[in-house]
């Protein structure tokens, strides 16, 4: 007991002797934007404003919930150091939940992400997004709601995923994709627009529109919403479910249906000297809204139409990535290697070209689990 008392006393009295940073001197990064102009990286960081909500002060909702700082450097690391120097805060990346790359920085995205992955204080589950234009423009938008501006952005990414419009990508996943044979990944594309609403100080807001296809060493290519929606079906990712909502038209009437339990199976084969990719999708659906007088009678038609919609989405996505750019963004190489190692041995040295010349076939079976109008 005596020893314990001595130990406790030592801990309580001597801990102040050890140098440590105060909370208000740390810049707790919530979101990071990275731009590159060909020679200089510019890093824009939204960090927690300790003068507003929580921190070492009482809550003051009149103060902005986030501070923004920007600095440049030859590398991202040196830009962060410069930013720490300028802002007077030691930047802590462990809580950064969104990382946005501007168009210029997407060309060498792999190196930038490797830096983030090897930085042990960074948050490996942070969302990685692309910006249409500059990432600084995205970072400059401050949402007033909640304790942190970034929460709103995360909600948007989450909603986009739930509606099946765009597939969220997290840090280690994006870095992994860029290490696969075709060194490519698709990131959700953020765009600034003038909302005119009062939810931001600037009167502007952010919208997620499609995706950016990043291939190492090339300029990013833009994918439409339909294409990114198809990718979500085929490879939901660690933070997605693949579930989505579709609108189909039956006898002139719009029907909204929730698709869930989506499973996809990709079967590769060689047809002569061309790679053939057969995709089978299975899903369940339930009605969300309809103006049909008797939705039960339309069950079979609805299953067929939903199946068509999912097949089109998947085909569009594969055509836009595999065939147009030879970019494997759905982990197809793993499927080929595990299912048909002999095919992999044949095509691995010229994989991108095989993808460009591939034949794609998509089939989908949907079963209507229930017709209840509510979830």
């Amino acid at each position: 007991m005596k020893k314990l008392a001595v130990l406790l006393a030592a801990v309580m009295t001597l801990s102040g002797c050890i140098p440590h940073p105060e909370l208000d001197r740390i810049g707790i990064a919530e979101a990071v934007g990275v731009d590159f102009d060909g020679s200089v990286y510019t890093v824009t960081v939204q960090f927690f404003n300790t003068d507003s909500t929580g921190g070492i002060t009482a809550i003051d909702s009149s103060a902005p919930n986030v501070n923004i700082s920007r600095a440049g450097g030859k590398t991202i690391e040196s830009a962060l150091e410069e930013l720490s120097h300028r802002s007077g805060h030691n930047i802590m990346l462990g809580s950064a939940s969104v990382i946005v790359f501007g168009e210029g920085a997407l060309t060498d995205l792999r190196d930038s992400l490797d830096l983030c992955v090897s930085h042990y204080s960074s948050n490996m589950r942070a969302y990685v997004c692309a910006a249409e234009g500059s990432a600084a423009d995205i970072m400059n938008i401050r949402f007033n709601e909640g304790n942190a501006s970034v929460e709103k952005l995360k909600e948007m990414i989450g909603n986009s995923r739930d509606l099946g419009m765009s597939r969220p990508v997290i840090l280690y996943e994006a870095a992994g994709k860029l290490r696969e044979p075709t060194e490519s990944a698709v990131l959700p594309l953020l765009r600034v627009y003038g909302s005119g609403s009062g939810d931001t100080e600037e009167g502007k807001s952010i919208i997620i529109r499609g995706g950016a296809l990043c291939v190492c060493g090339s300029l990013p290519e833009r994918l439409t919403e339909a294409e990114t929606a198809g990718l979500q079906l085929l490879d939901p990712g660690s933070d997605g479910s693949g579930d989505c909502r579709v609108t189909i038209t039956h006898r002139g009437s719009d029907i909204r249906a929730d698709m869930f339990g989506i499973r996809s199976r990709i079967t590769p084969s060689l047809n002569g000297d061309r790679l053939r990719i057969d995709v089978e999708i299975s899903a369940h659906c339930k009605l969300v809204s309809t103006s049909l007088p008797d939705p039960y009678a339309a069950g079979t038609d609805m299953e067929r139409l939903c199946g068509q919609e999912l097949s089109e989405r998947a085909y569009t996505a594969l055509e836009a990535t595999l065939k147009r750019y030879g970019a494997d963004v759905v982990g197809l190489s793993y499927a080929i290697r595990s299912q048909s190692p002999e095919i992999w041995e044949t095509i691995k040295d010229d994989y991108g070209e095989y993808l460009r010349n591939s034949e794609i076939s998509v089939s989908c079976s949907v079963s209507a689990e229930r017709f209840g109008l509510t979830g």
Partner: protein, 366 residues
């Protein structure tokens, strides 16, 4: 401070933890590669390690559970002194390597830019405490650390249940046949626990030889499970990760323990210190048995710990020295030398009249 109260199970748990520690705390020149070859390399290396333990196990059984050094010391002073010097050099190198691994792991993950002094003071104090409390307390602490690691592993598996992409496994034994043998040897050379077992097996209360299958089986299965997780969660990214297990724990997002990397670092720093403490206690036992200096054993253990930490610091500042040491240790030759010399010498020094039946181990130090 050496006593005879450790059980084979807890000894095996601590040895397995220290083996997995070596696997987790990669040095800058060690990388875990993605691919099925990793499974092959791990299995082959453990088969080789198992083969290395056979002569030692035969010698221990032949000598009625006595550790080889006790048998050698009871027969020839010259051979005993030679054995003591040889084992001391091996132990010091292995302990310094352990110190280097712990320091590097702590520096990169939690200490970041903290001065080396922080690590040395923390590890040195813990080591002092471990050596002072003795083998039983160290093994007990190690068993707790092993239990925490198992809990961590279970939590990680639960948290990442939906992220194991089994399609990333493919039917192949080798990916890079030209590197398979070097990978096997590198894995094999990481089994410096052999030295601890050979020196301290006399302190196991009963059935000391049960330690070997338990420790080898446990550590092999754990490393295979970890390899499975690296391959299925990270795929090609595995080859880019310095500490894949740390990254696994840092992406494990569960409700109450949001990100498990803090637990991970605690376990491995604890394991590193414990492993160094076991080497120190082994050295103390050598001083006691091989050199016959019982009174100086405890202080020798402490000095050994300090020397190991100092040498590990030296490794961090002299890359050429580190490279040479890594090449020698990584070749597996020192381990093989110890594994062949000890049982051979023990069998040579064990006259038939000394042979006792039964597995009751006798303490190597009174």
């Amino acid at each position: 401070m050496i006593n005879n109260k450790i059980s084979a199970g807890s000894f095996a748990a601590v040895l397995a933890l220290s083996r997995v520690f070596t696997e987790v705390s990669s040095l800058p020149w060690e990388h875990t590669e993605y691919g099925m070859q990793r499974f092959t390399a791990v299995i082959l290396s453990f088969l080789l390690t198992g083969a290395v333990y056979i002569p030692a196990a035969a010698a221990i059984k032949h000598c009625g559970g006595e550790s080889p050094i006790t048998v050698i010391a009871g027969r020839s002073k010259l051979l005993s002194g030679f054995t003591g010097v040889l084992l001391s050099v091996f132990l010091l190198t292995a302990a310094a390597e352990t110190g280097l691994r712990s320091h590097y792991y702590a520096s990169v993950t939690v200490l970041d830019y903290a001065p080396p002094l922080y690590f040395c003071v923390t590890a040195g104090t813990a080591l002092l405490f471990a050596v002072h409390k003795g083998l039983e307390a160290s093994v007990r602490t190690g068993t707790i650390a092993a239990a925490i690691f198992v809990l961590l592993l279970v939590l990680i598996i639960c948290a990442l249940a939906g992220e194991f992409h089994t399609e990333r496994l493919y039917p192949a034994f080798t990916d890079r046949p030209e590197t398979l043998w070097s990978e096997v040897i590198k894995e094999f050379s990481r089994n410096s626990e052999f030295l601890i077992f050979a020196v301290l097996c006399g302190n196991v209360s009963s059935k000391a030889l049960r330690t070997v299958p338990l420790y080898l089986g446990g550590s092999c299965l754990t490393i295979l499970l970890m390899t499975f997780m690296y391959n299925t969660v990270f795929g090609h990214l595995t080859s880019r990760l310095m500490f894949p297990f740390y990254t696994l724990s840092s992406i494990s997002d569960i409700t109450l323990l949001h990100r498990l990397n803090g637990i991970d670092v605690t376990v491995w720093i604890m394991a590193g210190i414990l492993k160094t403490a076991l080497f120190s206690l082994s050295f103390g036992n050598i001083v006691r048995v091989c050199f016959g200096c019982s009174k100086a054993a405890d202080i020798a253990s402490l000095l050994f710990g300090a020397a190991a930490l100092a040498l590990s610091e030296l490794f961090t500042v002299i890359p050429a020295l580190t490279g040479t040491a890594a090449r020698i240790c990584g070749s597996g030759v020192p381990l093989m030398c110890a594994a062949l010399f000890l049982p051979a010498a023990a069998l040579l020094c064990s006259p038939k009249s000394d042979v006792r039946t039964g597995g009751a181990g006798k303490g190597t130090a009174a």
